[in-house]
């Protein structure tokens, strides 16, 4: 059913991504659990496709530039991301905070767009950042709006502790998700990074399924103080609705089923 050699090639890429910067054939063979000549053939193939490069001096292999091009192509062809750009800029302007747009992948949230805060010094681009769902507003918004089966599976899984504020009590998380569904947005209070907070709301597509979330992130002292917090929440929710409509969602098309 699944093509074994393609799976093995993907394993090699994963190892190079996780254990880099450079690995030799022998070590890769051990990590992937495949014979050296097999790994060599796969590496040669991946090299021909630009996904892997070999260092001439050491003979070791590292990831190749085709992956950057493919990663960018993912962003360019990802409709949520392409349609979110203008809405995210608008949200950043209105709230004065940075804006992230994310999707759920496995039990993590993946940032696919980041609009910088209008004012401010150097900001590090977070596109490609991966965050445990339970520690951020984006993740909570996504899970609250997603299928019940997904929610239960994710709640049964690992709930990482990133700060002292990270929540691992399943009853409390369940209550938070219920609150998200009631008010239409999620709040993050230093669960991911000390000092940082977030407010996010889910985004739906034409079929009514949740396909992502959009939210603002900033210092907790600025973001979670009333009445600013409430104002921001309204603005975030409104932006999420506009983006959803842009994706073809109707007013009543929100769905929780599979």
């Amino acid at each position: 059913m699944l093509v074994q050699s393609v799976r093995r090639a993907a394993s090699i890429l994963r190892e190079l991504a996780a254990a880099g910067p450079r690995l030799g054939v022998t070590e890769l063979a051990e990590r992937v659990g495949v014979a050296k000549p097999t790994v060599h053939a796969l590496l040669r193939t991946l090299e021909a496709e630009g996904m892997v490069e070999q260092d001439a001096e050491t003979g070791k292999y590292r990831l190749g530039s085709s992956l950057l091009l493919l990663g960018n192509a993912y962003l360019d062809t990802h409709e949520l991301r392409t349609r979110s750009v203008t809405w995210a800029d608008g949200l950043a302007t209105r709230t004065g905070e940075a804006v992230w747009v994310a999707v759920l992948t496995g039990d993590h949230v993946l940032v696919v767009h980041h609009a910088f805060r209008p004012e401010g010094a150097v900001q590090i681009l977070e596109v490609g950042a991966s965050i445990p769902w339970s520690t951020c507003a984006l993740g909570k918004a996504l899970v609250a709006a997603g299928p019940i089966a997904d929610q239960e599976r994710l709640l049964a899984g690992e709930l990482p502790v990133l700060t002292g504020a990270s929540v691992t009590d399943r009853a409390e998380l369940t209550a938070q998700l219920e609150q998200v569904r009631r008010v239409g947005y999620a709040v993050e209070d230093q669960e991911s990074t000390l000092g940082d907070a977030g407010i996010a709301a889910p985004v739906f597509d034409r079929s009514g399924h949740v396909v992502g979330a959009i939210g603002i992130v900033g210092p907790v002292e600025r973001l979670l103080v009333e009445p600013v917090r409430q104002d921001h929440a309204v603005t975030v929710r409104e932006t999420a609705r506009n983006l959803s409509r842009d994706l073809g969602a109707t007013r009543t098309s929100h769905r929780r089923g599979a």
Copy 2:
């Protein structure tokens, strides 16, 4: 020698990247020249690896989020890029212009790092941008410092015309590359984008081979006016030397051979 099924999987990714946003099994089979069930098996495998996603409504496939993670991993494990960050920020501060760091891939230059101009309104991140080598300073710096065989091959290849200033005369390009080797930096005068200019210098690694280039980009009216142009060129060249040293290059370790 090369693993056919891995090559086919890569072809599918390339098609999805180039012809997206979504393609069906039948169309992909035609484009890749493979039987439908084979493409289906490959897609299923790529989906299991997160490199491809299927739209539940239409049954069509698009690129998946693992590619974004792998693209970011490429940047994180790419030594030129990781070591260039601080130098690029310094160069942007000293020149007041945006800084790009790039590598040569095929006959294009791939931007692997972009430090924003200190002053300025919205800037679009160009990491992942791919530019024909002959139309930009980064490309000319790279090719001038690279192996003669590469230079001849690239000169014999396609020389795209992006603007009225793009150079396609091989004798003129050859003279420009000779000038780059003499003065140590390359200049771009609207060959890529009307109104834009650039100054770039090659970066070498411990073995003495050119591994990338660093340069500034900005409006032609600002960049190519003396004595600013000369000052910038000196600063760019100096930064390239510092970055090269950071990568282990010695003062005399520049090499042009294979």
